[in-house]
């Protein structure tokens, strides 16, 4: 198992490097010129060239990528201009290893940008995760137990309705009605625990995580219902009944264990993907998490930040995959890794 995990991590790291290289290549293959974008009005070709230099896009792609990889291991300095470092060292930003680059468009190292944004996305993801697991799974179990009856139809029906709305719409509606019109909650603003304590953190997270959770709750009600029903139809449940086990024990021990195992893995992967940012929800609620940072980076041709977020997102997903696989081996005795 240990060797398996080590191997998976090793493959994951290689994948990250491949992805970063692909991002570099795609970025430079795009028709838009990021240097033109940062150059003001009345821009001459010479000025565009200066901007390109300021952005660090003046060297060949592979050289840039090489510097990026070097930075990950030994750190870098920005801008990479020995002359400037000599004459005006205070203008040089240092980016210690592991350095994911420096974004001239944000005037900050990518590492610091991600360090600021990640806690927001992670808070949001975990909060939403908590909500959707609690409500989605309990809803799904209720629906399965009352299959075909009112509770089932109501739950599945409303899940379908919620599911069919875009996140943007749900988020905006919650924000406008709950926070602005009815003022049931304060205007959602992300407040780190270090600034406002747990209370402010939670109240700020409520609406955005609810928005995010609603979509997942809808999905998980249907998922859980399906898995529970499937599990209830399994032969081993019939065996359990034939043994004379009480209904409680059949549901609690035999049905749930089998039904929740696949949900645990799906949930792990969903959470992993969500940790890297929920673009729409973060945009609607003005949460400066990784999702919003990603949009900003992509729309402003901010390569270093884009690469950084791609890597973080991929790392979350790869890690989630590894954890889920390991978890699976723990909860399902049939699964063994070698």
């Amino acid at each position: 198992m240990f060797a398996y995990v080590v191997r998976r991590i090793f493959v994951g790291v290689i994948m990250l490097f491949v992805m970063s290289l692909v991002t570099y290549l795609l970025f430079f293959a795009a028709p838009s010129d990021p240097a033109r974008y940062t150059c003001g009005k009345n821009c001459s070709p010479e000025l565009i060239e200066q901007n390109r230099k300021a952005l660090g896009y003046d060297k060949p792609v592979l050289v840039q990528y090489g510097e990026f990889v070097k930075g990950v291991f030994v750190g870098r300095e920005f801008p990479d201009d020995p002359e400037l470092k000599k004459s005006a060292p205070e203008t040089i930003a240092s980016c210690p290893a592991p350095c994911l680059g420096y974004s001239p468009l944000q005037s900050a190292t990518v590492t610091s940008l991600i360090a600021e944004a990640a806690p927001i996305s992670i808070s949001l993801a975990f909060m939403a995760f908590l909500m959707w697991m609690v409500f989605g799974i309990s809803g799904g179990i209720i629906a399965a137990l009352y299959k075909g009856r009112f509770a089932d139809r109501a739950l599945v029906g409303s899940a379908l309705v919620v599911y069919s709305f875009p996140t943007f719409f749900i988020g905006l509606s919650l924000y406008i009605f709950v926070a602005i019109k009815w003022q049931l909650t304060p205007i959602p603003v992300y407040t780190p625990i270090s600034e406002g304590g747990v209370g402010a953190w939670l109240s700020g997270l409520f609406l955005p995580s609810l928005t995010l959770a609603l979509i997942y709750i809808a999905g998980y009600i249907r998922l859980t219902r399906a898995f529970v029903l499937e599990s209830m139809g399994e032969d081993y449940i019939r065996t359990a009944r034939a043994k004379g086990l009480p209904q409680r024990q059949i549901m609690g021990k035999h049905t749930m264990r089998a039904a929740l195992t696949p949900i645990a893995t799906v949930a792990g992967l969903d959470l992993g993907a969500l940790l890297a940012g929920a673009i729409i929800t973060e945009t609607v609620f003005n949460y400066n998490g990784l999702g919003k940072l990603a949009v900003q980076a992509a729309t402003t041709y901010d390569l270093p930040t884009t690469v950084g977020i791609v890597l973080v997102a991929a790392a979350f997903i790869i890690t989630a995959n590894i954890i889920v696989d390991v978890l699976y081996a723990v909860i399902d005795p049939r699964v063994k890794y070698s």
């Binding site: 081993y236 019939r238 065996t239 009944r241 034939a242 043994k243 086990l245 024990q249």
Partner: protein, 350 residues
Amino acid sequence: MSRWASADPASSGALLSVRDLKVTFPTEDGLVKAVDGLTFDLRAGETIGIVGESGSGKSVTSQAIMGLHRGTRAMVEGQIVFDGRDLIKIVDEDLRRMRGRDIAMIFQDPLSALHPYYTVGNQIVEAYRVHNDVTKAAARTHVIEMLDRVGIPNPQKRVDQYPHEFSGGMRQRAMIAMALVNSPRLIIADEPTTALDVTVQAQILNLLVDLQKEFGSAIIIITHDLGVVAELADSIMVMFAGKAVEGGEAEEIFYEAMHPYTWGLLQSMPRIDSEKKERLVPIAGNPPSLINPPPGCAFHPRCAFRDDARLGCSSVIPEFDISTEHPARCLIPEGERRAISQAKTKTRTA
């Protein structure tokens, strides 16, 4: 045995008396009469074989006896009297207490019938403790003894293994251990060897015979394989389209079969001990619909001996006369059938 079953279950003296059992499933296309008026008795320590093809209602019968249709949309009617109590009428909790303790079940596919996430020991201990107020340790000791008894080598180690770590035969042994752990008076074995290889099947059937002697349980064995019941059963009931078409002692069924369907079954089966390379005699056609069964005798569309003009096979529903020793649900006069049967038996054993 003088008659197939008495009219009154109370006077039958049997461990299990099933009377006019009907199991109906509502579906979108209509009511499926999976079991339609089944009657039989089973005495303590004896074995009855229920034989039939897919859709004949044999498995539904076994589940109805266990009360496994409770809580579903299936409708169960008739009487299932076990040890003087009607299992259809008793409350859920009483039935639950009897399941596993008085009546145990062995299923066809031991891999899917065992929970994949719990050890074999865990599952058998659970079956024991739910009916016996003992400590886990005591239960475990008992379970290890049971595993040893059903021929699982190294039971101390095996008890902590998961079903997937067992071979198919070992899994079925474990299922048998689970069924026997409470020394039930009735074991229902639903196709217990169908998923197994023939050499393993032989082992398991041997084991069942041995254990029945030791525990004195009555057995209902449900199978499509006439060879299996030939080895085990005292009496046999042949089912077709939810109904019993013939019943009697094992030898009567094999050597004096009185129903065209039974003849068909016996003849369509290639025999390992028959060197003759003659054409098989299949039963023509396909199994009938259970929602709209053919009028009259449900078997008549496939019957090689039907005589609609004389006997009204397509309009008259033949009776299953439980007052006789060897009832057969057929309109052909008994004498004629006896003659056909003797001719057929001759060809089989020649």
